[in-house]
């Protein structure tokens, strides 16, 4: 049953990702990307990683996608055919085949041969962050993210966009 649901979600996420290159309205493209994030969190949930699913949902769907919507909806324009579908299909199939060949057919032992990891829990988050250096790194990431967002405002003002 889990395989069926996971397969359906995998098909859905690939369709949503493909829509990014098919749709012409930028707002619709942003919606398709949000759908990718949302389905990705559902996949995390189905494979038994509820913590990752929640974090994915909060960060990517709740934060990044909303920001993307606001930005795109405020200046939605540019409708033109931008993707060469033949190049897209050929390059995608070539890279996918090469990756599969490298992992499964060329003798490299992929993770499928081992035991599946158990679900990450908040306790494991605490273990992961037990080192003060890791904690500093995480805080630095959050600070960098905040500073990038904050510095975007004077940059936009300087560019006379806002």
């Amino acid at each position: 049953m889990i395989y069926i649901i996971a397969s359906m979600l995998a098909a859905l996420i690939l369709v949503c990702a493909s829509l990014i290159f098919i749709l012409k309205d930028v707002l619709h493209v942003a919606l398709a990307l949000s759908a990718v994030f949302f389905v990705n969190s559902l996949i995390f949930l189905v494979i038994g990683q509820p913590l990752l699913a929640l974090i994915q949902l909060f960060i990517m769907v709740g934060g990044v996608s909303v920001y993307l919507f606001v930005g795109v909806a405020a200046a939605g324009y540019s409708h033109f055919k931008y993707t060469n579908y033949w190049v897209l299909a050929i390059v995608a199939i070539a890279i996918f085949s090469a990756l599969l060949y490298g992992v499964y057919l060329h003798g490299l032992s992929g993770p499928a041969a081992g035991q599946p990891p158990s679900a990450y829990t908040t306790a494991q988050v605490a273990v992961s962050l037990s080192s003060k250096y890791t904690l500093i790194a995480i805080y630095s990431i959050a600070l960098m993210l905040f500073l990038v967002a904050l510095s975007a405002i004077p940059l936009l003002n300087r560019l006379r966009v806002m």
Partner: protein, 99 residues
């Protein structure tokens, strides 16, 4: 199941790289990178979970942070190009040098 997720990650990664190559829309090219970051989270969770236990979580935070910064930078340039009435076609962005 986890091999299946690895294949899905490969498929998304391929689609992202192909989108970057095949598109000439500025926004779509950056969103292709977002797809690659989604794929990298899936592949990282699948592959490194076997070797590092719970140690993969900081890497996932890094990946998500990069994805968020990517979108913020995209919005800045998107609004800038929009203000200049520039086309989102990257083949026409060379006109920026005339400004």
């Amino acid at each position: 199941m986890y091999g299946f997720i690895l294949v899905l990650g490969f498929a998304l990664l391929s689609l992202g790289i192909a989108g970057l190559v095949a598109s000439r829309h500025f926004v779509v090219m950056v969103l292709s990178v977002e797809i690659m970051l989604v794929a990298s989270a899936l592949v990282a969770m699948d592959a490194y979970g076997y070797f590092l236990g719970g140690g993969i979580l900081p890497l996932l935070f890094v990946i998500w942070a990069i994805a968020a910064i990517d979108v913020i930078a995209l919005m800045v340039f998107y609004r800038y190009l929009g203000k200049l009435k520039m086309s989102m076609d990257v083949t026409e962005l060379s006109r920026l040098r005339e400004e």
